[in-house]
């Protein structure tokens, strides 16, 4: 009787120690849900959701403090993905969120630019090159189209140019054909 008790409690202590060690050793840093949400968000860092960047919005979503339809650059597909991940109902864009726009890039009219560096400070991804009293320009490959540089510009020399369809970014269309029998 006593030996059985000892053996059982011994095993319990041993397993407890193993579990305790594993909990410390394989501890997950941060909130994995936030990272999953952040991976879905388009990383434009535009703040259209009302949060200062994608990560804060992801954190708010993980804490269930924000709606899933607040990210216009992510499009409807983004809402669908978030709905699936967070096990929520799909909600369309609407209310105080902007509707999604076609993807575009910022463009600086270099004749008008006065070199004030305000846009450089506003750009969340360092996609603007320039220096004080020097003409600025956008590095197209890095621009996310967040529009954050538009507001600070004192001479309104930045405009958004919609990315047009070219051979390099052209996609095969979803097959559509007539349903009427011949």
């Amino acid at each position: 009787m006593l030996s059985a008790l000892l053996v059982m409690s011994g095993i319990a202590i041993l397993l407890g120690a193993v579990l305790g060690f594993a909990a410390i050793k394989f501890r997950v840093e941060g909130n994995p849900l936030v990272d999953k949400i952040d991976a879905i968000l388009p990383q434009t860092q535009c703040g259209q959701c009302g949060f200062p960047g994608c990560m804060p919005y992801a954190t708010a979503l993980a804490a269930d403090e924000a709606d899933i339809n607040r990210c216009p650059p992510g499009g409807e597909e983004g809402i669908h993905k978030l709905a699936e991940l967070l096990n929520k109902e799909f909600i369309p864009f609407g209310g105080d969120t902007n509707a999604p726009k076609p993807k575009s890039l910022a463009f600086i009219d270099e004749n008008t630019c006065i070199g004030c560096t305000l846009c450089i400070q506003a750009c969340p991804v360092d996609a603007i090159v320039g220096a004080a009293k020097q003409m600025h320009t956008i590095v197209q490959a890095e621009c996310t189209g967040c529009e954050l540089c538009l507001a600070p510009c004192p001479v309104d020399c930045i405009s958004m140019v919609v990315i047009e369809e070219k051979i390099t970014n052209w996609k095969w269309k979803y097959p559509v054909y007539a349903l009427t029998p011949a």
Partner: protein, 560 residues
């Protein structure tokens, strides 16, 4: 006799090859203008080297290959560049791309050409020559050949030369093998040398007995270990993976390259153009094109790159009911947006199409899961499942079912009793997946840049705070020092306002100092100027003064 293997599936569509093999290869008369696209190959677009108005010679480099995967573009004949701009090209999108328009002068005058003896050169030099000669895979994939001739991690044992030409209507490789077999064999030998391969296997479908014979005669004069192998006629037996399977029995699995298995595959026309590029220094400026379908005289033509498709059709005598044309074969070809687009390196065949020849497909019916598509699929996929996933836009699942192993041969659509345009669904799914992937990469890059920016801002803040703290500390230390000296000396009449006065004086002094500095400062780059430069500067100064004057008068004007 070599034992042949079988690949899965395959179909037997009517071949329609005899129409265009009755006459030898003819040369198309010089067209009135050539439109040469700068992007005719897989990879980066070539960088234009010419300007409007430039006179160019035949074979002159007009597009420089840019970074990594790219190829050169040449003038197809001598003449004048009349335009460089966006024009509609032979592409499924029907969108314009950068092209040079060349007006031939009729002389067809070659640029100076030089022979490269590959035996006395290094493979690296040969690859460079081929890159600058714009040699790309002429079987339709247009991948730069020099990159395929690089020896990677795995040694190449077998070089497969693809003369199968399995797609209906197309006969350009057939005619090339009949008429220029020696050049093909010599090209193959150059490739074998570059790859250090042991054997050359040339696979030709058994519906081309003349080509097989011509090639066999050509190999007789050549060194050993070259085999001409007749393979059974079965579409798509000319697919690289399929032909490798038939000839060697090697199955190239998903995500694996044939080179990993010691096999490299080239088209016969590519072999021929490699030979011409090295032996005669001729860049790829022309190719053999089959003109067939709804035409009076179906035949093969030697056509300059950039020739409008319409020229070929009218030369072959397109029948009046021709309403469109197809580039490539009826299975995998792409309908051309119009007959103005030009022949590119990928164009092996132009089929004049009429509603009678290719009637519109009957409306698609629902999939009945008969799995006939799975039976004929040469890549051993489950086309009915892929269709389902592509239609539902379930791209992850489609990828799981190896969508990217699909070679878009169209065998599935061909046998589908419901006439579903299956390949279109796969193409749609593939390009969506590619687009998503590049979007994902872009967003990952954006995240990284954003996070680095946050880190940098934070670091700058800390650095600033540290600097400030250090300064304050120094100031405090100085104060203590001052207090000490003040305590040591007899107390002067220290007015309460003194520190303030002191600060004001300091600011004043600093302003004075800055003013002096500004006055003393001279542009550092104005010493040792040539008189010419000084004259230019004087000129600019004068202009500036005039502008300032004008501006002043402009401002003054409204007052009057």
């Amino acid at each position: 006799m070599k034992t042949l293997h079988k690949f899965h599936g395959g179909i037997h569509p009517p071949t329609h090859k005899t129409e265009s093999t009755r006459t030898p290869i003819a040369r198309l008369p010089m067209p009135a203008k050539l439109v040469i696209p700068f992007h005719q190959h897989v990879g980066n677009i070539a960088k234009p080297l010419v300007q409007v108005g430039d006179y160019v010679l035949k074979g002159q480099l007009i597009g420089l290959p840019e970074d990594g995967i790219s190829s050169a573009i040449h003038a197809s004949t001598s003449g004048t560049i009349s335009e460089i701009g966006m024009q509609v090209v032979a592409h499924a999108s029907g969108l314009p791309d950068l092209c040079a328009t060349l007006i031939p002068d009729g002389k067809d005058e070659w640029i100076a050409r030089e022979t490269t003896d590959y035996r006395s050169a290094t493979p690296e030099q040969v690859r460079k020559v081929l890159r600058m000669a714009g040699v790309v895979g002429l079987g339709g994939a247009v991948f730069p050949s020099d990159l395929k001739l690089r020896i990677g991690k795995h040694a190449i044992k077998t070089l497969v030369i693809n003369g199968a030409e399995c797609e209906p209507y197309i006969t350009c490789d057939d005619m090339l093998m009949r008429e220029r077999a020696e050049e093909i064999i010599k090209g193959a030998e150059i490739m074998r040398w570059a790859l250090a391969a042991e054997e050359i296997l040339i696979g030709i479908e058994d519906n081309k007995p003349e080509a097989i014979l011509a090639m066999q005669i050509a190999t007789r004069a050549s060194s050993d270990n070259i085999q001409i192998i007749a393979v059974p006629t079965l579409y798509p037996g000319g697919g690289a993976k399929q032909l490798i399977r038939v000839l060697t029995g090697i199955e190239v699995a998903a995500g694996v390259r044939s080179t990993d298995k010691g096999v490299q595959c080239f088209n016969v026309a590519t072999a021929q153009s490699i030979y011409r590029a090295l032996q005669f220094g001729e860049p790829l400026v022309a190719r053999i094109v089959t003109v067939t379908g709804n035409v009076k005289n179906a035949q093969n033509l030697e056509v300059l790159i950039g020739t409008p498709v319409g020229d070929l059709l009218s030369f072959a005598g397109a029948l009046p009911d021709t309403d469109s044309s197809i580039m490539g074969g009826p299975m995998m070809g792409l309908p051309l947006p119009n007959s103005e687009v030009s022949i590119v390196k990928a164009a092996n065949c132009i089929i004049a199409s009429s509603p009678k020849l290719f009637p519109a497909a009957p409306p698609a019916m629902p999939c009945i899961r008969c799995t006939r598509c799975a039976e004929v699929c040469p890549a051993e996929l489950q086309p009915q499942d892929l269709y389902w996933f592509a239609k539902a836009k379930d791209f992850g699942k489609a990828q799981e079912f190896n969508l990217f192993d699909c070679i878009e041969c169209g065998a599935c659509s061909y046998v589908c009793p419901s006439s579903i345009p299956l390949v279109q669904y796969y193409r749609f799914a593939k390009s969506e997946i590619w687009a998503r992937e590049s979007e994902k990469n872009a967003s990952d890059a954006a995240r990284e840049r954003f996070e680095f920016r946050e880190y940098r801002t934070e670091r700058e803040k800390i650095e600033k705070a540290e600097k400030l703290a250090a300064k304050e500390k120094a100031a405090a230390a100085a104060k203590v020092e001052a207090a000490k000296t003040a305590a040591a000396q007899p107390i002067a009449n220290a007015a309460v306002s003194a520190p303030q006065d002191d600060a004001q004086a300091k600011i004043q002094a600093a302003i004075e100092h800055a003013k002096q500095q500004a006055a003393a400062a001279k542009p550092k780059n104005t010493e040792q100027l040539t008189p010419q430069q000084q004259a230019t500067i004087a000129d600019i100064e004068a202009r500036r003064a005039r502008i300032q004057e004008l501006a002043a008068s402009d401002v003054a004007a409204p007052k009057e």
